[in-house]
């Protein structure tokens, strides 16, 4: 008996793989059964009912997912943000008052503002200039791939990579692996402790985000530029417009809608920035941002009230950007 107890307690990898495959197979079977059932029902109903069934089949899953994944969490987070740490008693606006008065949080809000201003502006500007410069190039692929490549790296991965770049070795007896320090030393300088010294460290973190997002801006804007009709450009050239004038008077207005989409997308991404700060400084040394503090409050300090309040602040800050984005998309659609 006891021998079997020992044996039963130990699963071999094959047992686990077997279990998982059985699970996978049964899930696929269930899915197939639902589809077959739908087809059967559809085949037995009249045309009008089929029309309704079509809406049902296509809309209900999406609506359900929206309800479970977006609407319910939003309402619940709003409610939690008015409750105490353990979500037991209502505390009114205390959490919001806290968010705007504690000095540490003011630093958080200030940093987020710096991020939201710099990252979209720099990424779009750099992406735009690279797109414009490579637009008439014969073989832009290599350059574009190199610029676009960081886009394929996760934020955490990028954070880890750049932490090596910014590495600072205090002990002179040990090898320094920091690239940036090496460059400074090559020119005879003394490297500072990059990630420690505020406010420089926030700009170093912003550089990582710009590094990632520039590729995205470049690819999208470059595609938009390809859509600028050659006739217009040639007409401008015949009228004697200089390249700079052509860029600002022809290209930019022609891709304005895309520019807005790129800018707003990056703004939204930047407002939510979390991974880079968390992996590189953990929010220490005055580099904290809202999303990181929200995570820390809610899931490490177990204060769901303040965590939810920060989430709602973030949510409210994003709404106007999204609204503007949606309006632009609509305008563009009506123009066409």
């Amino acid at each position: 008996m006891m021998q079997f107890a020992i044996f039963a307690a130990r699963k071999t990898p094959w047992d686990i793989i077997g279990e998982n495959f059985t699970l996978l197979a049964s899930a696929l079977l269930a899915f197939a059964a639902v589809i077959v059932l739908l087809f059967l029902i559809a085949g037995r109903t009249n045309v009008k009912a089929q029309e309704w069934l079509k809406y049902l089949v296509f809309l209900v899953p999406a609506l359900l997912l929206l309800l479970v994944g977006l609407i319910y969490p939003t309402i619940r987070t709003i409610i939690l943000s008015f409750m105490d740490a353990k979500s037991e008693n209502f505390v009114g606006f205390d959490n919001y008052v806290w968010a705007f008065t504690i000095p540490e949080i003011v630093v958080v809000l200030r940093n987020t503002a710096v991020w939201v201003f710099l990252v979209p502006f720099l990424s779009t500007a750099i992406g735009l200039s690279i797109a414009y410069m490579t637009d008439r190039m014969k073989r832009p692929t290599v350059i574009k791939s190199l610029i676009f490549m960081p886009m394929a790296i996760s934020f955490v991965g990028a954070g880890v990579i750049w932490r090596f770049v910014y590495n600072f070795e205090p002990n002179e007896n040990r090898a320094d692996i920091g690239l940036l320090s090496a460059i400074v030393k090559f020119f005879g300088g003394t490297p500072p402790n990059w990630l420690l010294e505020s406010p420089g460290n926030t700009y170093l973190l912003i550089a990582v985000m710009v590094w990632i997002q520039t590729g995205f801006a470049m690819v999208v804007l470059s595609a938009a530029m390809k859509n600028v009709p050659d006739e217009i450009v040639e007409a401008a050239m015949l009228d004697g417009a200089t390249p700079i004038k052509r860029f600002f008077r022809v290209t930019i207005p022609m891709i304005r809608a895309t520019l807005v989409v790129v800018l707003t997308t990056i703004i939204i991404g930047t407002l939510k920035v979390f991974d880079i700060v968390r992996t590189m400084t953990g929010g220490n040394f005055q580099t904290n941002v809202i999303a990181n503090e929200m995570y820390s409050q809610a899931f490490r300090q177990m204060n769901y009230g303040t965590g939810s309040a920060l989430a709602i602040i973030l949510f409210v800050a994003i709404i106007p950007v999204i609204a503007y984005n949606v309006r632009q998309l609509r305008l563009e659609r009506t123009e066409r």
């Binding site: 044996f7 402790n193 929010g283």
Partner: protein, 456 residues
């Protein structure tokens, strides 16, 4: 002791062999194992005399619900083999990483496990109404085999519920025996000797006395809280430590200020640690690596650091006597203020019982005996605070030091930041200690800021 141990090993080995045989041909009956292991049920069989106290539970099954999963779980199951064989009790090991979330669900749902291994006393304290208080035999065994501090951690509101199981220790200073021997440094036994040694090393100028690193991603600063806790136990007494942890002693009290000032004597002394600010950007493992490559002499960290240094930095764990091993590292006890002041900081698990069954009580009792603790420790990688644990059974040199620390400890306390409210223990305590080194924030400003964040 050695005969007892060899018998354990022998019986354990045959039990495993038997299980393999049985697994191979399921049809075989108990004749296969006759002679080596035993029939359950019969009064006394060879090798089972020691288990007479647990008799009378043949056929019972006891579920142990725990966070401990493989590969550690297999060693636990192995250590129960002889007990199961002789008593006829089947122990079902149910390990899951969801333990902390699921235990409350199971207790409230009426499907509480027989025994639960609590990884921290705070969780244990949530179930005083559901747990079965310790019976006389268990209380007697724990009184005999563990220090009162350990019994206290298994006690909720004056009722003793849960018996200690495994332990871990944080009061270590890592060093290289070779570096120490080459330079003729002696292991310090008091805080003043430690500072004097640091001065000596700094004056010689070849090696940096200390490497300190508190960077740990989102958890940066926790390593500094361990310094505070260890020194709190040394410069204040146990009651003050408890009051500090539960918040009845204000965080900015002069007693705490005294402790942070002592910590600052090492951590914020550039002669000892080099660049003080860089402590905040040096990871706790990279700090320890300085001991391996000889660029610094000492590093205060818990026992788990050994595995990291072996795995990532090519260190070898040696005994303090191995003074000729390059990159060999080991530990000494982070000394108290005087030679007879030997507090220990650490942690441990506790076994609570939810069902009123004799078999479960027998298992709970058996886990507190020196016999089981020795058998389990002999399987490797594990130790407990059991006073009957023979260090000869603990193979790893660092664990051996840990057991000595636990058995000699005049005072034992759990890591305080784990027990403090999360807003402090996983929040401002970390961030303010980080600011203390990174921004050279003053002692008082740090303590005031933590005090202000305490959710009273």
């Amino acid at each position: 002791m050695s005969t007892l141990r060899s018998r354990f090993v022998a019986v354990g080995a045959t039990a495993i062999a038997a299980s393999l045989v049985l697994a191979g041909c399921a049809a075989s009956d108990e004749e296969t194992t006759a002679g080596s292991t035993t029939d359950t049920g019969d009064a006394t069989v060879a090798g089972c005399e020691a288990y007479a106290a647990y008799a009378g539970n043949e056929g019972a099954e006891v579920e142990i619900y725990t966070t401990i999963i493989d590969p550690e779980a297999s060693l636990f199951i192995e250590s129960f083999a002889e007990f199961e064989e002789c008593t006829g009790i089947t122990i079902n090991w149910n390990g899951t990483q969801e333990f902390e979330a699921q235990i409350a669900v199971r207790v409230e749902g009426g499907t509480a496990p027989d025994l639960a291994i609590f990884p921290q006393p705070g969780l244990l304290a949530s179930f005083p109404d559901s747990l079965v208080p310790a019976d006389a035999a268990l209380t007697a065994s724990v009184d005999a085999n563990y220090s009162p501090d350990w019994k206290n951690y298994g006690t909720v509101d004056g009722t003793f519920f849960a018996a200690p199981l495994g332990a871990n220790v944080k009061s270590f200073v890592w060093y290289s025996p070779k570096t120490f021997a080459d330079n003729g440094w002696a292991i310090p036994t008091t805080w003043d000797e430690l500072l004097a040694l640091s001065d000596t090393i700094a004056a010689e100028g070849n090696v940096q006395p200390w490497c300190v690193g508190i960077e740990s991603g989102g958890a940066t600063g926790w390593a500094a809280t361990d310094w505070m806790e260890d020194l709190m136990l040394r410069f204040q007494d146990g009651e003050t430590y408890d009051a500090w942890v539960d918040g009845s002693l204000p965080f900015n009290d002069p007693k705490v200020a005294e402790v942070i000032a002592e910590a600052g004597k090492i951590i914020k002394n550039p002669d000892y640690v080099g660049n003080v600010q860089a402590i905040a950007t040096t990871s706790f493992s990279a700090g320890g690596a300085g001991v391996v490559d000889g660029s610094c002499a000492m590093h205060r960290q818990a026992s788990f650091l050994g595995g990291i240094l072996v795995g990532d930095y090519g260190a070898t764990i040696v005994t303090p006597e191995d003074t000729d091993v390059e990159s060999g590292i080991t530990t000494f006890y982070f000394p108290g203020v005087s030679a007879d002041n030997k507090p220990a900081l650490g942690g441990g698990e506790f076994v609570g019982r939810f069902t009123d069954s004799a078999a479960a009580a027998a298992v709970q009792l058996y886990l507190t005996t020196p016999e089981w603790n020795n058998a389990k420790a002999a399987l490797g990688g594990w130790f407990s605070a059991n006073k009957g644990l023979d260090t000869a059974n603990v193979a790893d040199p660092v664990n051996k030091v840990a057991v000595e620390i636990l058995q000699n400890a005049t005072l034992f306390r759990f890591d305080g930041s784990d027990v403090m409210p999360a807003a402090v223990g996983a929040g401002t305590f970390w961030t303010e200690m980080t600011a203390w080194v990174a921004e050279d924030k003053s002692d008082q400003a740090v303590l005031d800021a933590i005090y202000a964040s305490w959710p009273y």
